[in-house]
């Protein structure tokens, strides 16, 4: 036991305490950084991790959790939380134009609800401080009338109560300290938010470090009734329950931006009731299922036949085998990009070889065929390998017994080997189906979901599967609808999850612990 001695006692204890102290120090620093930036949920997660770590590693009765804790933290924070967050996002109207919170939306609306007066009154401005607060000396550019603006109000200054600076604008007055150039540069963002009220909903606001304009607030928010009123047009806008302020008299007139609002899981009902959403969704869904089904059958068929063909009696078996498993050894993203190049219309080797000019990726059917062909190339070696494994697992006595009974090799294959193989391999076939159901790389790198009939306003391409369609919905170039994307994700979770669960139940893995 001498070898073990070094790991126990005081040194180990000191090492453990130092290690946890370092982890704590990092987590505490991160906690304060988060609270400082008002990232509350982040701060809570960090605090929970820190508390959990200290509890698990200092309490006496938590031995298994000392081993489980790091993995558990990673799994919960980066897998479980995103899944829960996906569920919550799927219940919101969260898309381009509805991305911020309601408070931020109101602030932005009020900022855009500003109008310059008809004369476009502009002031030359000298920024400074008065009584420790922001102030400005404002010289109107046309009338040369001078004002002193403070956050409380703006007062007219009579001639003689101020002095002009080198630019012939008011530069100094009693109690006013102008900012230095450095101070001005340092408080860029604060200056942008300054407003010097004039009364009657009018105020003077800086446009840059030395120019200000007269603005009128045309949009007014009433927090009691939760309405916005446009005083100039005399229109009232009310929260429409879907993340926008809409005109009370004309519901289609909405103010932009809106906010991400809880819409009662309407993203899901849209998928089945709104024809603009349902059409592409159902098309994509049908292709996803048929693609995953067809491709697994093709790969299994070719791989299984190869396992039969490449049996022990064939010469150069090892050599053939090394070549034929190459597609499985090459990183798949690389193979897909290479195949994409081979089918390129102008430069591709396939058109070059046959002296054709076929635009392979522009026809929905050809593109679908290419996807199946390329996935066959990528996947048959795996199915060859697992079929070989399964064939070896079938007891030789079965074959002998059948041949003594007079069965031909073909009959043995069809009636004994194939059914047994399907039984042995069914968990792998199901997991392969689930994998291809979500085979993002294949579709995205080969056809990018195309061809897409943009002329007819189609949002989904002919070869889009659910996962690439989700990606387009969430991060597309024209509109990004994160709420809808999350709803589709949840449906995929459900399909893939129940399929896997069913397969696990069948193979009785869940009972085996």
């Amino acid at each position: 036991m001498n070898r073990l001695a070094g790991f126990t006692g005081l040194p180990a204890q000191i090492f453990k305490i130092c290690f946890i102290a370092i982890v704590d120090a990092i987590l505490i620093a991160m906690f304060f950084a988060s609270t400082h930036k008002h990232a509350t949920s982040l701060a809570i997660v960090i605090a929970l991790v820190a508390l959990g770590a200290n509890f698990v590693y200092f309490a006496k009765f938590t031995l298994p959790f000392k081993f489980l804790f790091p993995g558990l933290v990673l799994l919960v924070v980066f897998v479980v939380v995103p899944i829960l967050y996906t569920i919550s996002m799927s219940a919101f109207n969260y898309k381009t134009g509805n991305e911020i919170s309601k408070g931020q939306a109101i602030t932005q609306l009020l900022q855009t609800g500003l109008a310059p007066d008809s004369a476009n009154t502009t002031y030359d401005m000298v920024l400074g401080k008065k009584d420790g607060d922001w102030a400005a000396l404002l010289t109107e550019q046309v009338s040369h009338q001078v004002y002193l603006g403070t956050l409380k109000g703006t007062t007219k200054l009579e001639k003689g109560s101020y002095t002009l600076n080198s630019l012939a604008i008011a530069g100094a007055t009693a109690g006013f300290t102008p900012l230095t150039a450095d101070q001005t540069a340092a408080s860029d963002s604060a200056i942008g938010a300054l407003k010097f009220p004039l009364g009657n909903g009018q105020f003077i606001a800086p446009q840059s470090a030395d120019v200000a304009v007269l603005l009128t607030q045309s949009l007014v928010y009433d927090s009691k009734t939760d309405t916005l009123t446009n005083t100039a047009l005399n229109r009232t806008y009310k929260d429409n329950g879907d993340g926008n302020f809409a005109n009370v008299k004309d519901k289609t007139e909405k103010l932009l931006p809106g906010w991400r609002a809880f819409n009662n899981f309407r993203n899901y009902t849209h998928l089945f009731s709104d024809p603009t959403v349902r059409g592409p969704f159902i098309g994509v869904f049908v292709w996803t299922v048929s693609f995953a089904f067809l491709t697994v059958i093709m790969m299994f068929g070719v791989g299984f036949l190869l396992a039969i063909a490449l049996d022990k009696k064939i010469a150069f078996r090892r050599f053939y085998r090394s070549i034929l498993i190459l597609p499985y050894a090459i990183p798949s993203f690389m193979s897909i990009l290479i195949w994409n190049g081979l089918f390129n219309r102008q430069f591709g080797a396939i058109n070059g070889l046959f002296h054709t000019h076929i635009d392979w990726f522009n026809s929905p059917w050809l593109a679908k065929g290419i996807i199946l062909l390329v996935n066959l190339w990528l996947g048959f070696p795996y199915f060859y390998l697992i079929s070989t494994g399964a064939l070896q697992a079938i007891p030789a006595e079965l074959e002998e017994a059948a041949s003594i009974d007079g069965a031909s090799p073909r009959k043995i294959l069809r009636l004994i080997k194939l059914p047994l193989m399907l039984q042995i391999l069914s968990p792998l076939l199901i997991s392969s189906f689930a994998f291809n159901f979500n085979n993002f790389n294949l579709i995205y790198l080969l056809t990018a979901g195309g061809p897409t009939d943009v002329l007819h306003g189609k949002t989904a391409g002919a070869t889009d599967i659910l996962i690439t369609y989700t990606y387009k919905t969430a991060f597309g170039s024209s509109e990004q609808n994160l709420g809808l994307a999350c709803a589709i994700s949840m449906i995929m979770f459900f399909i893939v999850g129940s399929l896997s669960l069913w397969s696990l139940r069948r193979s009785k893995v869940l009972d085996g612990f």
Binding site: R3, L4, F7, A33, S34, K37, L63, P64, F67, L68, G71, L74, V79, V80, I83, T86, M89, V302, L305, L306, A309, L310, I314, Y320, I323, L324, I325, A329, P331, M334, L337, I338, N340, G341, L342, F347, G352, W377, L385, I386, G389, A390, I424, L428, A434, F440, N441, Y444, L445, I467, T470, Y471, A474, F475, S489, V496, G497, S500, L501, V509
Partner: protein
């Protein structure tokens, strides 16, 4: 050759041609100085290293940085996730505690959900993390690594538990009788015994991360921070005809080491593959 087996030979050779065709074209184009696919014919006429040189002398295509990023993030993910996953798997395999069965079942369910299904949520989350901690937020390799680690935790813990169950318990018990604590059993008995299995799991994890595209392309916008997968895709997608030669060279450089490792370890990797089948 028996006539009965003729179909087998024909079938095998059709598949060999099918398998080798893209590989051959890529090797040929990588040494073809004209660089574009248009002139590539099946019989090589010229030979040059110009495509390989172009790959390392183009500041707009920091191929070296891509390779470094990929290797860095894939090895970090492989090492850390196997290290942490082994601890979890050890606890599940060797200890009996409340919630063990429920924990295993939950783990199994979680690991069938590919983490990129939650990509919209991950994107929004990491966007917020970025505002506080740019080093582990959106756009950083650190943040991407954290997401990968979370995603590989379930799979690795599950895979490793299967292997650990096959290591006989008697060894642990003998050490315990000699007075070793659980932590000592873990480090001194279990870890060395499981080392080969951990290495294979780490290798599979490495290949998986190296191949990952969707999260990486969402995360890494900066051209210098891209992985090989994202970098090459953007590079070749921009100008297919023009960039095909350097792309072919780049794909070979990234692929050949992996293929060699894979072929030399195929016994172990494939052993793991079929295990699931024959046990099921």
């Amino acid at each position: 050759m028996k006539a009965k087996n003729l179909w087998k030979h024909i079938y095998i050779w059709i598949l060999i041609v099918f398998t080798l065709f893209p590989i051959y074209v890529v090797i040929e184009s990588s040494f073809n100085p004209t660089g574009s696919l248009a002139s590539s014919s099946l019989i090589p006429k010229q030979f040059s290293w110009v495509n390989y040189k172009a790959l390392f002398n183009n500041p707009a295509v920091p191929y070296g940085a891509w390779i470094r990023n990929s290797v860095l993030i894939a090895s970090a993910n492989a090492l850390i996730s196997v290290f942490i996953g082994a601890a979890s798997a050890f606890a599940f395999s060797r200890m009996r505690f409340k919630g063990r069965k429920a924990g295993l079942q939950t783990l199994l369910l979680i690991q069938v959900f590919p983490s990129f299904l939650a990509l919209a949520a991950i994107y929004v989350m990491m966007e917020r993390v970025y505002t506080v901690f740019p080093a582990i937020g959106l756009g950083s390799l650190g943040g991407l690594l954290l997401i990968y680690l979370g995603g590989s935790m379930g799979v690795n813990a599950w895979l490793l538990k299967g292997y650990i169950d096959t290591i006989p318990m008697e060894l642990d018990e003998a050490a315990r009788i000699d007075g070793a604590s659980t932590v000592q059993v873990y480090w001194l008995i279990f870890f060395p015994l499981a080392a080969p299995v951990l290495a294979v799991t780490a290798l599979l994890s490495f290949i998986g991360t190296f191949n990952e595209f969707v999260l990486a392309s969402l995360f890494l916008q900066d051209v210098n921070k891209r992985t090989v997968a994202v970098g090459l895709q953007q590079f070749v997608g921009a100008q297919f005809g023009q960039n095909w030669g350097p792309f072919a060279a780049g794909s070979l450089i990234a692929t050949v080491p992996l293929v060699i490792v894979f072929l030399s370890l195929q016994r172990f990797i494939i052993g793991g593959l079929t295990q699931g089948a024959t046990k099921g």
